[in-house]
Amino acid sequence: MYSEKVMDHFQNPRNVGEIENASGVGTVGNAKCGDIMRIYLDIDDNQIIQDCKFKTFGCGAAVATSSMATELVKGKTIEEALKVTNKAVMEALDGLPPVKVHCSLLAEEAIHAALWDYAEKHGIKIEGLSKPKSDIHEDEEDEEEY
């Protein structure tokens, strides 16, 4: 069902935990399945993500995408971090089963939420970032795609 990469990140998730006094914290819930992800960012004065941690209540894919997403944004600028889409995370994990694609959206949205929190706290505006929803409502997949 899951790729080896996913299983690796699920079994040995990178960057689990919290950052005290984080520059930005984002929590997102997935209305579809009830799962929840929280991402902590430590961003320095050059707007570079020095550290990133997460906590996730969710399925195997949710844990693995959280782990991979934190890996991908660490060391990046904010601008670069915005490009870490769910697609990028999935690719880095060698794909996800179709029914699990929505899980990867959690990671993308959680990063956006953490960045938004950072921007608000610091009174800045991040180009291309809009107020994140606290809940992911994807369109229902077409259950009749036969």
Partner: protein, 390 residues
């Protein structure tokens, strides 16, 4: 998922290992007695006799007549047949069916289908242990009620419904009573006459029989017709060349389940309660789902707060333990278990549920190992969880 082979199988409500005895009984019907049971010649007649024996063995377990057992491809087909054909056959009487919110999807999705065809369905609530309320049932009956379909025992939480009382109510009101006994057949004593059951669904693979074979018991006089039309098999009520090895295997499995029931389920009940006791004592924030007493002998269903089901299952799998969850992610659907919601669990707790269902081979050592692994895994997942602060 993992490379580790399953060593401890605790998902016997999903399906069971086909017992060697059953397989041995089936084997000759593949390569020797392979004749079509409708044929006149000797090798066909041998198939026919084997089917008759299996039908007799199964009927005995239910206190039914031999000719009241109709083989199907499994529990789902039996459920579909009972509901759809009753809706057609009794359309003159009415269009109202009473069922519960905790039925298997084979019932619930069939009901949704029938609603589109004009059926009115009452979905009874259940209490926090999963039991239907007999007063509510009684009140739900109307002149146009044609069928009550209430499961014998629930597949997720193991709750055993008051089937005898339901049967009595159905009989008093002259309403047909169907019960989905897929989880109960061979696990608890059933007597269709004593319990006033008119139709009953069952599936072999839940009692160490083969997959792909089940039956619908139809009381003599119940005038429902075919669901699968065609040849004259099963007294013209279910077409299709008989699955002779499957039927033979089912017969042996049913006989075996009945014979071993007392001893087997006593052992299972003891193991079940031992495990539940220890979990409730040794792991914090955990809840037993389903009725503590009116419960299938082999069913354990627990909710662990702050923990998500799929992750839990994968981690157990990595330790060689096969289990299942009422959780969204396992079933291909993402909705949380309708059963756990119906007994009042909040969404995020329903999400962290674990079902362990014992089998005839389950040992105390298996459960001790499982408990140790479970403790560790729950700890690990709670550390990961943004909902948990210790």
């Amino acid at each position: 998922m993992s490379d580790m082979k399953t060593r401890i199988y605790l998902d016997n409500a999903a399906t069971t290992k086909t017992s060697q005895e059953v397989v041995d009984a089936m084997l000759p019907y593949f390569t020797e007695n392979y004749g079509n049971a409708s044929s006149i010649y000797e090798v066909g007649q041998r198939s026919k006799e084997a089917i008759t024996t299996a039908r007799e063995d199964i009927a005995k377990v239910l206190g039914a007549k031999t000719e009241e057992i109709y083989f199907t491809a499994g529990g789902s087909e039996a459920d579909n047949w009972a509901l759809k054909a009753a809706f057609e056959a009794y359309s003159k009487k009415g269009n109202h069916i009473i069922t519960t919110k905790i039925e298997h999807h084979a019932i619930l999705h069939t009901c949704e289908y029938l609603e589109k065809k004009g059926a009115e369905i009452t979905y009874l609530d259940v209490d926090e242990n999963g039991l239907v309320n007999l007063d509510e049932l009684q009140k739900a009956i109307r002149p146009e009620t044609i069928l009550i379909s209430i499961m014998f025992a629930n597949n997720e939480i193991g709750t055993i419904e008051p089937v005898k009382e339901i049967g009595m109510i159905a009989k008093e009101h002259g309403v047909l009573f169907h019960t989905d006994a897929v989880q109960a057949f061979g696990q608890v004593p059933i007597d269709v006459d004593e319990m006033n059951i008119d139709m009953l669904s069952s599936s072999a693979h839940k009692i160490n029989g083969p997959k792909g074979i089940g039956f619908l018991y139809i009381r003599k006089g119940v005038k429902i017709r075919s669901f699968v039309h065609g040849g004259a098999q099963e007294r013209k009520r279910r077409a299709g060349t008989e699955n002779v090895p499957g039927i033979v295997g089912y017969g042996v499995a049913a006989k075996r389940a009945a014979e071993t029931m007392e001893v087997r389920t006593a052992k299972e009940r003891e193991l079940r309660d031992y495990f539940i006791d220890r979990v409730l004592k040794e792991i914090p924030y955990v809840k037993l789902n389903g009725d503590p007493v009116k419960r299938l002998p082999n069913n354990i269903n627990l909710s662990f707060r702050f923990v998500e089901g799929e992750s839990l299952l994968i981690m157990l799998d990595m330790k060689g333990i096969a289990a299942s969850s009422g959780s969204a992610c396992t079933s291909g659907s993402l909705d949380p278990s309708h059963v756990l919601l119906a007994i009042g669990l909040p969404h995020e707790i329903a999400h962290g549920s674990l079902r362990l269902t014992l089998g005839e081979d389950t040992t105390k050592e298996d459960l001790d190992y499982t408990l140790e692994q479970l403790k560790e895994i729950i700890g690990k997942l709670r550390d990961l969880s943004p909902l948990y602060e210790d």
